[in-house]
Symmetry: C2
């Protein structure tokens, strides 16, 4: 296991410590949990607060999405493991600005269970909480069973748009509705070329031959839909794009935002080769790309691979996607 | 070789094609070379233009540093190979806004030779050109032979500060002086844990055992100063920090900007574990960190490893480091 680390059991806490030293202007720890991070200026009075959380090992997921125009707080689990409900409650209390709290997280059973528990505890403290669960991975279950789908990189769009919606001082129902509408209009499909190693486990989370790839694999190495010989980038782009387009389905005349996400070890050069072909395919389908995001938005430590997410846009989404936001964990964006 | 690509010989051109489709508002090709990219709004009239260039495989180096507040144009070579002087001349002509052009690039013989040739050709077209050569890698030659040192991630500071200086409408001598002063005050030291594969070569650029690392290795796999057993993050951070601090040397009372750069496959989590320890070491030395940058600023495709760069600051540098700049290839920054 080749990792630049100290004690595997301290991996997450040492990461958090480094983050707080690097960006003290941006984030602070919650008083009640060393695994809760909130905006340095939390709570923002009168604004709906948005919280997320999940396992470590996915930066910028999840903590990288806390910031102005984005989320207010995050609960941090061990690598690939859910954070605790106690941490979620600690975060909830410190971000609540009096307008309630939206939990916006990916569809994994541990996270769902703990966020439900935290919501109950919060309601006992008279903090209104609602939840939106991202489930964008089209490879993880058929469209008829969307509630079984995992949440992967497409949650970025929900974070960005719900965060911008909350910044308009919309109420909790309206922010949740925006998040849910993004989730309903986002599809993602990924491929993996190599595994990663959880520090405390010490060996790769799956094995894959030197000439193979897995289509539809999850960001924790969950089985995909097909293991094949390594394909050319254009074929991989076509598999991802056609599956995503047909799922919603996206139609000719639609406008979309596109995210080509790298899982960790895949260089930006390869992401641009993939996104180049996806642009061509979308154009052939009559789908207009309003805005393109290329880079690492949801990783799996040192896994090699990529995922394509598409969000179907309307005028409100475009405005909210272009609204200002800041996090030092994310690439620079510009208004379209 | 596990890469998401098509034809290895088209790797660079397909990358450029993907970039132009993703960010058409940001960059455009030069008319005379398919390997020259300039700001979409080039030339900026009356402003000193800054050009860089180098081999592919290092994104965001080099093309990711073109943008408002940064550079004006870039020449793109094959993977790990210098761009041509002809491309450099094409870029020079399209970015020249009448105030002359600064070539700011890393110290590699092929790049130096071609930029010198381009400067001669530009002077024949009455475009004044000066050059600044970054040589920040303290492991590549002793301090007494700085002119032999390679340029690596520390060039980021020169790009940022020279770009901001040019934005003040300073003249060519002043912009070059700022770049040279950054270069003289920047030191970098890196470590590598795994190799990468040049697409057209098809095999890793070096071999290293599963339990080994190389200290001081260059970003193309150039030999470092020591190959050792894999060390803990805190030891690696200390080796990098002590070497960098002692080189300039940085002294108690100095203010510094710090860059913890990932080479490609190393996850952000590990970079923060390293930077956490570097913060502690700098504090113990009485060196104050004004601003911290953590992320991928100079990569080697899928190499695992990291480098630490420190820039000694003064008031002008702080102001210029905080000036606005934009590139979709770089992490979001905020004014200190």
């Amino acid at each position: 296991m080749k990792k630049l680390m100290n004690d595997p059991l301290q991996f997450v806490d040492e990461t958090i410590s480094g983050i707080l030293k690097a960006y003290p202007f941006h984030l602070r720890l919650t008083k009640e949990s060393p695994r809760g991070l909130v905006r340095a200026d939390a709570p923002v009075k009168g604004k709906v607060a948005i919280c997320t959380g999940g396992g470590s090992g996915h930066i910028p997921l999840f903590l990288g999405y806390v910031g102005p125009g984005l989320l207010d707080g995050v609960s941090i689990g061990n690598v690939f493991a859910s954070p605790s409900a106690d941490t979620m409650l600690a975060v909830t209390k410190e971000v609540n600005g009096g307008a309630g709290v939206l939990y916006l997280f990916g569809n994994y059973s541990g996270d769902t269970m703990n966020f439900e528990m935290a919501a109950e505890m919060a309601s006992m403290e008279d903090i209104p909480v609602q939840s939106s669960v991202a489930a964008d991975d089209v490879a993880s279950a058929p469209a008829s069973q969307k509630e079984r789908r995992r949440g992967i990189a497409g949650i970025f769009f929900a974070y960005k748009i719900a965060g911008a919606k909350a910044d308009t001082m919309a109420n909790l129902d309206e922010v949740k509705a925006a998040a849910d509408r993004v989730i309903a209009n986002t599809c993602t499909m990924g491929v993996a070329l190599s595994p990663c190693t959880i520090p405390a486990v010490g060996k790769p989370n799956f094995t894959i031959a030197e000439d193979e790839m897995e289509i539809g694999m999850g960001i924790h190495g969950e089985p995909g839909i097909e293991r094949t010989k390594l394909k050319k980038a254009d074929e991989v782009a076509a598999i991802m794009a056609e599956r995503v387009i047909n799922d919603l389905p996206f139609k000719s005349g639609d406008e979309a935002a596109m995210l080509m996400n790298g899982l960790g070890a895949t260089p930006p050069e390869e992401l641009f080769i993939l996104s180049s072909k996806v642009h061509d395919i979308l154009k052939a389908h009559g789908i207009k790309v309003y805005k393109t995001f290329v880079g690492e938005y949801a990783t799996s430590m040192e896994m090699a691979g990529a995922s394509l997410s598409l969000l179907r846009l309307d005028d409100e989404f475009k405005k909210l996607l272009d609204a200002p936001a800041f996090s030092p964990f994310l690439p620079q964006w510009r208004k379209s």
